[in-house]
């Protein structure tokens, strides 16, 4: 077992880069670590945690049902609105993802496309359907949504409310009663 010696020349090299703030990020909007987002054409508003540690987004769906439709894999799941009303959704499964956890067997969860609105930014992104019922936030917004438009300042939260235009047609549809 070898011990590492401090590498001073490289540390100085790294410090030089840090003192120059890149201006490329200047036109992005700064938001907090938690914000309101809407899904499903503004039918559902949820409190979301901005997760720079996650590649994609994640939505709480403790119960979901996989089924076949026109030879494709689809998934049916429920989302609770802030007023308590439960809405049923159906979406085509884009892929299945293996979620590896420390010391536990890997779980396989479906990934779908969803359109999310945060501030005035509307984007269709991959969302994995997970059991987040034990967690504080029903939805995590990952890097694939946040990149290009947002800077995260963790000293702030709920700095904006969703105000996007009309949602485009999307795979995740509310099932009418």
């Amino acid at each position: 077992m070898r011990t590492i010696r401090p590498v001073m020349p490289w540390l100085a090299f790294l410090l030089c880069f840090g003192t120059v703030l890149p201006s490329l990020s200047a036109e992005k909007q700064t938001i907090g670590w938690a914000e309101q987002v809407t899904i499903a054409d503004q039918e559902v508003t949820l409190s979301a945690k901005m997760d720079t540690g996650a590649t994609h987004s994640s939505l709480n769906t403790p119960e979901l049902h996989l089924f076949k439709k026109n030879d494709e894999s689809w998934v049916k799941f429920a989302v609770a609105r802030q007023d308590g009303q439960i809405l049923q959704f159906e979406a085509r499964v884009v892929r299945m993802v293996k979620i590896k956890q420390k010391g536990e067997r890997a779980q396989v969860r479906p990934v779908i496309h969803m359109v999310l609105c945060l501030g005035n930014v509307l984007k269709k992104v991959e969302v994995n359907l997970a059991d987040r019922s034990k967690f504080d936030f029903p939805i995590l917004v990952g890097r694939s949504f946040l990149q290009d438009e947002f800077i995260i300042d963790v000293s702030k939260k709920f700095t904006t409310t969703p105000h996007c235009g009309t949602f485009p047609e999307t795979d995740a549809m509310i099932v009418p009663k």
Partner: protein, 154 residues
């Protein structure tokens, strides 16, 4: 007293932990985590003049168990922490210095075995609060460490 300058960083950065003699370690900048976390493959808590301390071993580079650093730090807590998968674990919490772009400040980190994870260090919200802001679409704004610099000097 002047407020510290807020530094813009990407979602992945090389940072330094000078009190632990770690000049460079790749950290995942994780706004989804409240507390920062650091890899430790062994921990040995002890007391020095009545102060709770801990010795621990770290492999600072992913996929490399030959390069190891033996660290010593002050213990501030031993508490249950929930990870991103909802898995609950009791962990030692240390207090140490973080160095980013020439600025140094005290942070807390929980020690946990991250041997099979991509990043040896997670930088969480309490460490970032009022010190750094994150651009999730960019990486290594503080500079990239060449692979040749990772080998220990003989």
């Amino acid at each position: 007293m002047a407020k510290p300058e807020i530094i813009l960083i990407g979602w992945r950065e090389w940072v330094a932990l000078p009190e632990l003699s770690i000049p460079h370690i790749k950290a995942k900048v994780d706004s989804g985590a409240r507390t920062s976390a650091l890899h430790a493959y062994y921990v040995k808590p002890y007391k020095r003049k009545g102060e709770r301390r801990i010795k621990f071993g770290l492999h600072p580079y992913q996929n490399n168990t030959r390069i190891a650093v033996d660290c010593d730090a002050r213990v501030v807590d031993y508490r249950a922490v929930t990870d991103s998968g909802g898995h609950r674990e009791k962990r030692y919490v240390i207090s140490t210095h973080l160095e980013i772009a020439g600025q140094v400040w005290e942070i807390e980190m929980t020690l946990t075995n991250r041997e099979n994870m991509k990043f040896r260090m997670l930088l969480g919200r309490t460490a970032m609060d009022k010190r750094v802001i994150v651009d999730p679409g960019r990486s290594y704004l503080l500079g990239k460490l060449p692979k040749s610099a990772r080998k220990p000097l003989t």
